[in-house]
């Protein structure tokens, strides 16, 4: 009983971290059919910027985190204007932007490597202490990550459903031409979703590195997981990807406990294959179009 609750707790923490990084990827894909392959590098950048602000500049944690989030959001906007916008009208936008953002990722990672070096660095953002609750060991750090994830997802969900700009994002995702005919300036929507996604990547980079450490290529694994989660959920489905992220986090924790860490990725891929055989367009996906 204690063990299964313990696994559930660490699985949910893992899932919450996945959810933060996946939601951004899904939002951008849903709104503009852009698979942002530099998402992982932006995530690492966010982690390093927080490290730099706190350790290098000696700023307090809330300021440093805000700084990292804002810079990564700005990186998203820059990617829109310099990389995505020039190829929006082209026939194979989806393929071109996929390849172009791989390049962006390499550039960002090289900048990180150049600036901070290849050795692991500690993420100074951490909450010490822990809680014993019904025989389950809960570090405050994990609870904070869970809380942050819940807050962010609720805010994102509310914004998408209830605000004017959220309606514009959903409309753009569901029919780009029709959205424009209603007066939505889709350029603004695209810049905005890339900014949100960049900010979410920063948060996820900070949380992930706070449980391990900073490395220039630390974004690769979460990016891969985020991509897998998106595919399982159905590309572009934001609520679906959050549910899938939590599920996969728990799945991973269970597999790691029963079979050991080295089997977790293999079993994850088997799960993905089974899901895609069952539902080729993802659990929450549809044959055509995307959901937001």
């Amino acid at each position: 009983m204690d063990v299964s609750l313990q696994i559930l707790a660490s699985g949910l923490t893992l899932g919450a971290m996945y959810a933060i990084s996946t939601a951004g990827l899904a939002l951008v894909f849903g709104a503009m059919k852009m698979l942002n392959m530099s998402h992982g590098a932006i995530l690492a950048l966010g982690g390093y910027l927080s490290y730099f602000a706190l350790t290098g500049l000696g700023l307090p944690a809330p300021v440093g985190i805000t700084f990292a989030v804002l810079v990564c959001a700005a990186v998203g906007v820059v990617i829109y204007h310099i990389v995505a916008r020039p190829m929006l009208q082209s026939d194979n936008f989806e393929t071109r932007i996929f390849i172009a953002t791989i390049g962006v990722g390499v550039i960002l990672e090289s900048i990180i490597l150049e600036a901070f070096g290849p050795q692991p660095k500690p993420q100074p953002v951490s909450v010490p202490g822990s809680l014993m609750w019904g025989g389950v060991y809960l570090p405050y750090q994990n609870l904070m990550i869970l809380g942050v994830a819940v807050l962010i997802m609720a805010a994102l969900g509310f914004a998408l459903q209830k605000t004017r700009i959220g309606r514009a994002i959903r409309a753009t995702a569901q029919n780009r031409d029709a959205a424009q005919l209603m007066g939505v300036r889709i350029g603004g929507v695209y810049a905005l979703v890339l900014a949100i996604s960049g900010g979410l990547a920063a948060v996820s980079g900070i949380t992930i590195s706070s449980l391990s450490s900073l490395l220039p290529n630390m974004g690769a694994d979460p990016m891969l997981k985020a991509f897998i989660i998106c595919v399982v959920a159905g590309l572009g489905s934001v609520p679906g990807s959050v549910i899938a992220a939590l599920f996969i986090g728990v799945f991973e924790a269970v597999v790691q406990y029963i079979f050991g860490v080295r089997f977790s990725f293999a079993l994850l891929l088997i799960l993905v294959i089974l899901v895609l055989i069952w539902r080729p367009h993802g659990v929450f996906g549809r044959v055509q179009g995307v959901r937001l």
Partner: protein, 237 residues
């Protein structure tokens, strides 16, 4: 009467493929102009060029004397040109009400949202009962009504309807045409793309025949009825 929308020597297409060649057309304020012509000769492309979805290669488009052909689509809607596109292009995962409310997305229309919604429900009573239904589950006729209703939620003075009767049963087509007639009588400028030349001749003040990306003929409905050879040549009717 004055010319409200003037299209002058317009050339436009998709990439290297030119669809409209040197096309000129004037639309007078408060009239209903019908565009007829064979499939694939550029009727929808013309509407898409006017609403800014298709970038034009040459020529100009003037709205009440002001050039609008370099404007973004959102700026063109804001200036009162509404395009109800072929195939409806609804937001499939939104409800009927959410779709309609997207029509009043721009601030000028948002202020009048309640009033417009009432008007749309009066004109298209069926939508009132379907408000909470998801658009992707609607029937073809209901979808068309949402598409038209969504267009009417905007603050448009010029309404462009692309084949509003396409694929519908005759009884629904009659309903749609009643709506079009009401709109025309409300004093709006309407540009109507229609496959069915007889229907078009019936309702339009002016008809233009679009062929190979240009205007091949223009006149009134009565004049068109006196030229059966035109329909035979261009539409195989």
């Amino acid at each position: 009467m004055s010319v409200e929308l003037s299209i002058q020597n317009l050339t436009a297409g998709y990439g290297a493929q030119i669809v409209l060649r040197n096309l000129s057309l004037d639309v007078e304020s408060g009239t209903l102009t019908a565009l007829i012509g064979p499939n694939g000769h550029g009727k929808s492309t013309l509407l898409r060029a006017i609403s800014g979805l298709v970038t034009i290669a040459a020529g100009q488009i003037l709205l009440a004397g002001t050039r609008i052909d370099r404007y973004r689509p959102d700026a063109i809607v804001a200036r009162g040109i509404v395009h109800v596109p072929q195939g409806d292009l609804l937001f499939p995962d939104m409800t009927v009400l959410e779709n309609l409310r997207m029509g009043s997305y721009l601030p000028a229309a948002a202020r009048l949202e309640r009033q417009r919604l009432e008007e749309v429900f009066t004109l298209l009573p069926k939508l009132r009962d379907r408000q909470q239904q998801t658009a992707s589950t609607l029937s073809g006729g209901e979808r068309r009504m949402v598409g038209i209703g969504r267009g009417l939620m905007t603050s448009g003075r010029i309404l462009m309807l692309d084949e509003p009767s396409l694929g519908l049963a005759p009884i629904i087509i009659d309903q749609i045409y009643e709506v079009v007639d009401t709109l025309r009588r409300s004093g709006r400028t309407v540009i109507l793309v229609e496959e069915n030349a007889v229907r078009a001749a019936d309702i339009a003040d002016e008809i233009h025949l679009l062929d190979h990306g240009g205007i091949a003929w223009g006149g009134t409905g009565a004049e068109l009825s006196g030229r059966p050879e035109l329909l035979e040549t261009y539409l195989g009717a």
